[in-house]
Symmetry: C2
Subunit: 397 residues, 2 copies
């Protein structure tokens, strides 16, 4: 039995989510994802922040041989900036998972999310690992959903996705990619605190998985920039069981992994802390893709622009001011900007009437044409709202 979505959609995976008691709210806070094989190939992309949480350091080491048998994830505490004792806690967590499942601790990835600078209550966490391991058996589709729920922090909904490879000769999907994600704040390039677990029953070597994962994150999670902040704990894992017996082409695999990442990334934007608009900043006519990303990111990082969108104000001057801070190739007098299809700025000056722009829908599309070449890119962000300020000023209190 497989579920229709999430980490247990592909064959060869079990999952569970339980309540270990790490969160004051008493909500689920511990998840397990287990790869039952027959293969255990894996790849990971980790935060590029130089201040890295203990679980990030552990998981980098654990994944260095391209093998991963299980992932344990907790919300309710990031275990970041906790020094050597924090690393010992992560190690103990991996050992507990290994003991419960009869595998090696070095094949267990660990992910944590929550407040920085506090030790985890290890008695509760280790008891939770035992409970989660028990809950695995017979968990079926529900296990994937439970795991996706247990990793939520300020997320208001859990996030799961699935993509299927081409059908086999029998008309049945030959293999699939599933995934779950959490991360409602701190989304940023170089990834976010954002934890993502992707699974596939395709047959693929670790190097192939790594290439597919890096290609996918580069154009999905790396192009979501909710508030410009980068976490100490970002982790995106891809586990392959080989249970389908199908070895897809590298392009096919990359496309399926990218589709799941794009789906999850869009869900993250839609659930960003306190946001009232999801904003796609699409830059076209760039000399290079790097230029397009640089310009789009400059716009998505402008607090003035983001506050204007919150106020349903098509303030294109703030877009131009942000574009002008970059070193991308463009002529300031050639810039065009559209808000939801209305070209309010033409050739660097006043264009069509801003009165024609309707910013009431949640999704807003900004189009910037640099008129400098053939490249393009889209970066997603959110507006800057009263609720964002409120949630992030009250987060740790």
């Amino acid at each position: 039995m497989t579920s229709t979505t999430g980490v247990t959609a592909p064959q060869g995976f079990r999952a569970a989510g339980t309540t270990a008691g790490l969160k004051a709210s008493g909500k689920p806070d511990l998840a397990l994802v287990v790869n039952d094989g027959p293969r255990h190939d894996a790849a990971v992309v980790l935060t590029s922040n130089r201040v890295q949480a203990a679980p990030v350091k552990w998981t980098r080491q654990a994944l260095s041989d391209g093998r991963c048998d299980a992932v344990v994830l907790n919300s309710g505490g990031a275990n970041a900036c906790t020094g050597a004792p924090g690393f010992v806690d992560t190690h103990a967590t991996a050992e507990a998972v290994a003991d419960a499942l009869g595998i090696g601790a070095a094949d267990v990835a660990v992910c944590s999310t929550g407040l920085i600078g506090e030790r985890l209550p290890m008695d509760k966490l280790l008891a939770g690992v035992t409970a989660a391991a028990v809950a695995l058996d017979g968990s079926g589709a529900q296990g994937g959903a439970d795991a996706a729920t247990a990793i939520m922090t300020t997320d208001t909904v859990s996030k799961q996705a699935v993509a299927h490879g081409p059908a086999g000769a029998d008309g049945q999907p030959g293999w699939s990619v599933g995934g779950m994600a959490k991360g409602a704040g701190m989304l940023a390039p170089g990834l976010a605190t954002m934890l993502v677990v992707l699974t596939t029953d395709a047959v693929a070597e670790p190097s192939v998985l790594d290439a597919a994962l890096r290609a996918a994150t580069r154009v999905t999670f790396d192009r979501v920039d909710s508030d410009g902040c980068m976490s100490t704990n970002d982790t995106v894992l891809l586990l392959a069981s080989g249970a389908s017996g199908v070895e897809p082409g590298e392009d096919e695999l990359r496309e399926a992994v990218t589709a799941v990442c794009a789906d999850l990334a869009r869900q993250l934007v839609a659930d960003a802390e306190g946001a009232s608009h999801d904003i796609a900043v699409e830059v076209v006519g760039a000399a290079t893709e790097d230029d397009a990303v640089t310009v789009a990111r400059a716009v998505t990082r402008s607090n003035l622009f983001k506050a204007a969108i919150f106020g349903n104000d098509p303030n294109w001057g703030r877009v131009l001011a942000a574009v002008g801070t970059t070193d991308a190739a463009f002529d300031p007098d050639a810039l065009d900007v559209s808000f939801n299809g209305v070209q309010v700025c033409r050739a660097g000056g006043v264009g069509d009437s801003r009165d024609g722009v309707d910013l009431s829908p949640r999704e807003v599309r900004i189009l910037v044409d640099l008129h400098a070449g053939p490249a393009s890119a889209t970066v997603w962000t959110n507006d800057l709202t009263h609720d964002y300020v409120h949630e992030n000023s009250a987060y740790s209190s």
Copy 2:
């Protein structure tokens, strides 16, 4: 007669502020500052934004010969992204000032601030120039204050400052530097929309003024970063009349100019849009000054950090997460962070109790020790508040 502060404090300057009717509010919106000599040396620092307003393009040209006889400044419209017609408007403004004062238009600097992307009502503006020129005579100390008021946008108070050179043999100050500034939002490195006029009665060649001005702005206005945004209109002018007859040493002049810039910069932070805290992020123990500035700026640009300060939350994890995004030299396990004198993070981990931190005063001091060298730098910012979001979402409506 000289005033005790502002642009008319040094000898040889007159100023005026009038209401041309550019602002819907009917508040003063046009200012003139005139250098009556005997010398007319000058220097300017302009925005590094590549999208530059018409007055910025004009003023760069006008100041290229190191001479400036008068400055006209308007609030109520930035004249940015207005194309060739906008440049014609700026030119016409300079011509009107030149006609009224009997000087050359090429010796008139023009500064504008307000909404981007709208033409100025030139009939009102030119009539305002005539009125301001009339108001100059006998304006004395009040003229400087009126000019400082007329350049305000969302500023709640006008900003003026003065510094005196060493006393002469007669015990009287031999020369002085005065100044005025506006700019309550969009403060950022590379300057802000922020218009600043500095005056001095010292004798100094344009090259000396330029060196003093660049040295001063580098460690003052360039280290104020209210919201990470950079304007299309930033201008800092320094005009020297030579009326004191004293030629100070280059160090003396630089120190006095820096003192006035530092005073004005601090006033800008104190009046930033919607802010409830002024935050000094001081980085010490850096390998280089560039490293110190890079780290301090990363912290001042973290929306999560700024929102935490709004909530009186000494969330040092967000400081570390911001530090970790930089390429400065440091060991993550050696970082120390203090909030208002309490060392809440020691050696990259938990330090003294955050309960001991009092963030209720408006001024907050964050100290980050990188333990990587002898260099240091301080960057000022503000917290991220409900009022910031409100003011900037409603700005153009």
